[in-house]
């Protein structure tokens, strides 16, 4: 198997960053903070599921490039597949991280990338399945430095 290295050069220089203005989810008595956050964001009920796996390091030295892997147990057929997975970082100044779209019979429901985290937090993934259900998984990540400043 020959491998072709692809280096995609798009643009310019400069460093990274964001700023601070933490979004603080409103706490409802007795309600789980994350469920509350997701409800306000999507208006839908997400079910915690171990079919969806969000793998991130529990501790990472820098918030600039935290590795993240997502996979969903799914046959990826027309009848039963993952439509998309959205990722949120509730303690980032901008909570939306990324959304991935998969295609039945063509892509597998797994993906890896690197993200910025502003503070130690639970990162959450939401998988929208072809039957309309919404699966949820979260991962706690402690970052030593703020990846958004």
């Amino acid at each position: 198997m020959s491998l072709t290295r692809r280096h995609i050069l798009a643009n310019t220089m400069a460093t990274v960053a964001c700023a601070v203005a933490l979004l603080t989810p409103k706490r409802t008595q007795g309600a789980d903070e994350m469920e509350d956050f997701l409800w306000r964001l999507t208006g839908r009920k997400a079910t915690p599921s171990n079919r969806l796996r969000l793998v991130m390091p529990a501790e990472f030295p820098t918030g600039y490039t935290v590795p993240m892997s997502i996979s969903v147990d799914s046959p990826m057929t027309e009848a039963d597949h993952v439509k998309s997975v959205r990722v949120f970082a509730p303690k980032n100044p901008l909570v939306e991280v990324v959304q991935f779209h998969f295609v039945p019979g063509r892509s597998l429901s797994s993906v890896s990338t690197r993200v910025r985290l502003a503070a130690p937090q639970h990162v959450v993934a939401l998988a929208e399945m072809s039957d309309g259900s919404l699966l949820m998984a979260k991962a706690w990540v402690t970052v030593a430095t703020n990846g958004c400043l």
């Binding site: 692809r6 460093t15 991280v97 990324v98 910025r116």
Partner: protein
């Protein structure tokens, strides 16, 4: 990074890295002026015209965005990777894949 040839119906891995600062729009320069947001906001992979994978990126994706995903080798054809920057500029790159 894409393999040159794959057996039919096998899964193959695509790794892509785009060199880009992913300026979030949240930083200020030394004069206190906001540096405008400029990120890659979308990445699409097509396999013989058909969209097979897409990522909508937000500010929290790291600089020099990296993506690794898996596709099924269905037929000989062209993989097209295209990505869109804030402001509307689009870029693309092609890779022909041989399915045996």
């Amino acid at each position: 990074m894409v393999p040159g040839s794959v057996a039919k119906n096998e899964v193959f891995t695509v790794k892509a890295i785009i060199q880009h600062q992913m300026e979030t729009g949240l930083r200020t320069d030394s004069a206190g002026k906001t540096i405008p947001r400029k990120i890659i906001n979308q990445f699409v992979c097509r396999y013989g015209e058909l969209e097979v994978f897409r990522a909508d990126l937000h500010e929290a994706v790291s600089a020099n965005p990296f993506l690794e995903f898996q596709l099924l080798a269905t037929e000989n054809g062209r993989l097209e990777f295209s990505w869109r920057e804030d402001g509307g500029a689009t870029y693309s790159l092609f890779h022909d894949i041989v399915v045996t």
